[in-house]
Symmetry: C2
Subunit: 355 residues, 2 copies
Amino acid sequence: MELKTTTDIRIIKADSSKINSVDFENLTFGNIFTDHMLICDYNNGKWEQPVIMPYEPFTLDPSAKVFHYGQAIFEGMKAYKDEHDDVWLFRPDQNFDRFNKSAVRLAMPEVPEDVFLGGLHKLLEIEKEWVKKGFGNALYIRPFMIATGSGVVAAPSTQYRFTIILSPAKSYYSGEVKVVIAEHFSRAANGGIGAAKAAGNYSGQFYPTKLANEQGFQQIIWTDDATHTKLEEAGTMNVFFRINDTLYTAPISERILDGVTRKSIIELATKEGIDVQVRPVLVDEIVEAAKNGTLQEIFGAGTAAVVNPIVGFSYKETYYELPKPENSFATFIKQQLTGIQYKQIEDTFGWTVKI
Amino acid sequence: MELKTTTDIRIIKADSSKINSVDFENLTFGNIFTDHMLICDYNNGKWEQPVIMPYEPFTLDPSAKVFHYGQAIFEGMKAYKDEHDDVWLFRPDQNFDRFNKSAVRLAMPEVPEDVFLGGLHKLLEIEKEWVKKGFGNALYIRPFMIATGSGVVAAPSTQYRFTIILSPAKSYYSGEVKVVIAEHFSRAANGGIGAAKAAGNYSGQFYPTKLANEQGFQQIIWTDDATHTKLEEAGTMNVFFRINDTLYTAPISERILDGVTRKSIIELATKEGIDVQVRPVLVDEIVEAAKNGTLQEIFGAGTAAVVNPIVGFSYKETYYELPKPENSFATFIKQQLTGIQYKQIEDTFGWTVKI
Ligand SMILES: Cc1ncc(COP(=O)(O)O)c(C=O)c1O
Ligand SMILES: Cc1ncc(COP(=O)(O)O)c(C=O)c1O
């Protein structure tokens, strides 16, 4: 895959860089942003010229639709630096496609490829010093679009802003992750916006997650809202279950985000000879497998942590501790995937794209 | 009910008023705002001093949580002017309570009563010229809260802004309203945020509503997402169905907003001797009643239009036209309710509150 570049991006360089004031060894996720951002405004039915400019605050009317009706979508990607100082993206076309699917579902205009991918390419060229070498280091990329039009009538905005901001990130280690299986709260409805990376899907999870945190669990595995019998995904990760030597993961649906990491793991694991079954995963069968000792692993899959092993889960007030198998699939898959991302393992899939 | 007023609101008056430039006879809903707004920021675990100040744009970091995770809630209320130039609110305590319920569900801090109701009182005192006399005229009140903290980690913000803005409104006439009964798309999940007035609940409706609009329907009546057999509510209105001389409306649930107009209509209609049944309303029984001629009326209930008669509905590609009964309940209830709001009919319920 080749990134299309645009020639007509306006570039306003920052007077100076703040890069030397950043402690790259001690980064908290998503707090520090690079010197520049890309913005592109949509007005009168069309996209204006994209601008790469110094990172600075937005000025918005108090009645802006994003504040009142949550018309807002985003993506999450990473740029990696290899041994030769080349900067790479991982399947950016997937994020671009998903972004525009989210846009359609939220009645927002689709962003052209040369703005999203071409603009990102240009922005990364300018900010490439911010991508640090070394395993685990990455530049987190946050493309997002908000409804900027003003007026409190409950209808789609006619004005939007697409933006890309960049944040340096260290290897993401979230400690031992224990999860709760959702019995009451839900993330998404049938026919709802769960499959979109829409802002409103995330704030709804904060309160149930807070309750879970208070009980000593870091995350929730969401279940279908109608019956709470099917395991769906976590807050920002899809989920895999290993019973004996088979990996199971829920099929994509209107309620589940079509994760890039998830689909890459399915391909990669299959290629490596692991049996991967994509089908509804029932709470009951996982509890049963935990009880009879066939449940080997559960792990989350998402851009932030790539693969996030789960050490145990709680369901109906009972806590089930997971074994720590010697030949962990989670560890193996994480090594393979990050190996490809950092260009240490040959990318036979054609997933990596050079900047 | 008495509004608590606060003495410690900081007031910064606008240099001049734009009121004389406003054409009060030709107002589009929610486009024009008064000279002042109230803002109150939440920082370091507490609410700061509220400020009434000139209406002006907000300045927010591109990484502000409201843009990425939709942590945003709002309310919708109206102020009315009576014959004696007194300004009145309708059950503001209900909006205040509901606002804080929404806040809890979205993991946002609750707003103190003296900020929300006391602040509104003070703001309306300053802006009372903007409330125009005459039936149908009102000042629409939009309290809202957004997550202003920066950083793209998917977790609740630690900083928030509560704001009240005001917009003069004319009597809301939305033309003949035809609705579609939802067969595929949904508004809310069990265990989700449907009962909160959360920003994210609205943007999800824009796309399905656009599809309905393209087919000649103005709104959607949402059904339960699991089976699509139960009628729930419309985008910004609860819904009543009249079969013979009985009014039916769905019970409040986690999926349905507890509308102030809805609950007032239930009380008022009951008092006026109308049989009101609060119970799940099935799509099938409404279709059946439409076919056998017992379905007399359907109307929406919400602050904007108070009562909004529906002229017909579509279900499974069939359009059902509703009769126009002589003794319309919708018309009667609207007269009674607006009569109370404009202080033309005695308020035996104690719903109206003087500014
Ligand atoms: C709800 C949800 N599920 C799953 C994922 C994982 O998707 P991806 O692998 O594309 O990062 C994300 C995104 O990070 C997400 O927000
Ligand atoms: C989803 C929804 N349902 C119903 C209503 C009606 O509520 P109320 O009567 O309090 O205005 C509203 C608000 O306007 C709403 O947003």
